[in-house]
Subunit: 207 residues, 2 copies
């Protein structure tokens, strides 16, 4: 499993001559780091002296951040598989008309999956960004900069995932599918940049 590779090996493969892992997996790793840092701030808040009033809220943020972290970690692998699926479809035989039609159908189906994985990744990242705001507001001041890193990582992951959606829908012929996914993506992106800057400013103010 790609999540079991060392950071060094992952970076080496990212930099290398193979198409996977690529930006889609990098986006999932960044999103998972964002969720992990929300968890870290929550872990320094739950049960800590001076933070009794926000204990339950921090515990709930921790629970939600850990759920998002698990799902985003899963996306690292899912993105590679989706891309490999597209490559496999392009590699199908195209000697006869029947083969050509089957290959075209397989490519289109694989591209839809390759668009839906980063779209799901983007939605998870937007949820992480949503958690950083309350976490930055109530979290332990000693580690509050980590809430700032969390929102920056999640926002970079969200916009990175968006690029991977754009790439894949660009080759999809089903116009209704493309319009639907583009609309969903714009809804996910809407407001995330402003919220990120709000959280960053909130963190800087509490440093």
């Amino acid at each position: 499993m790609i999540k079991d590779k060392s950071i060094q090996a992952f970076l080496d493969e990212l930099a290398g001559k193979a198409a996977t892992p690529g930006g889609g997996s990098a986006a999932a790793v960044m999103g998972a780091m964002g969720a992990a840092l929300v968890s870290m701030v929550a872990n320094f808040t739950v049960g800590k002296k001076g933070y009794e009033a926000v204990d339950a809220e921090a515990a709930e943020l921790l629970r939600r951040a850990e759920s998002l972290r698990r799902q985003l970690t899963e996306m690292i692998r899912a993105d590679v598989e989706a891309f490999d699926g597209v490559m496999a479809a392009y590699g199908l035989a195209r000697d006869t008309d029947a083969q050509k039609a089957a290959r075209t159908g397989a490519i289109q189906a694989a591209l839809k999956k390759a668009a839906d994985i980063p779209l799901a990744c983007a939605a998870l990242c937007a949820e992480v960004i949503g958690l950083t705001r309350p976490m930055a507001a109530i979290g332990n001041k000693n580690v509050i900069s980590d809430a700032g890193v969390a929102v920056l990582a999640a926002e970079a992951a969200l916009r990175s995932a968006a690029l991977n959606v754009y790439v894949n829908v660009g080759a999809i012929k089903d116009e209704a599918f493309v319009a639907d996914r583009r609309q969903r993506l714009e809804q996910i992106l809407a407001g995330s940049e402003a919220l990120t800057e709000e959280v960053y400013a909130l963190v800087k103010g509490r440093l």
Copy 2:
């Protein structure tokens, strides 16, 4: 070595109850991912048909990106060590006046190192951002979205490192040191956001 840990283990430790690894290491990982993705786009450009005219430029970008990647990967460990140095200094004995003076000196020295590591990380990330612009302009269109993910990762890393500089200079009493490092940081940050948006738009336009 922390870079030899698996992605899963790194994320678990990031999320956990220990102060390290924290946002400083996460910033270094994101910066290294940015550099790795510049290398990936360069690797898909050097020696590729249709990109003969930019071959030498892409090879030079690859060389510089790999150098930055090595330095940023090293920063993952350096940030943990610098933080641990601060914690160790805070833990020194303070029973006598001499011990108290020695402890204060040790804390201040450790904080200076803990500010200079993320400052160096920020400078490296700014260099990565600088590489993404020519890479996005000349790189193989098939992997151009990865140049977009590269710039987003590097910019998130830069701003994350900046938060860690702010945190540490906040506790440093040497006003000349603080003023100098703040000035250097602002110089590094200046223009990076605008350049990031420029590269992102360039990538979106080439998708």
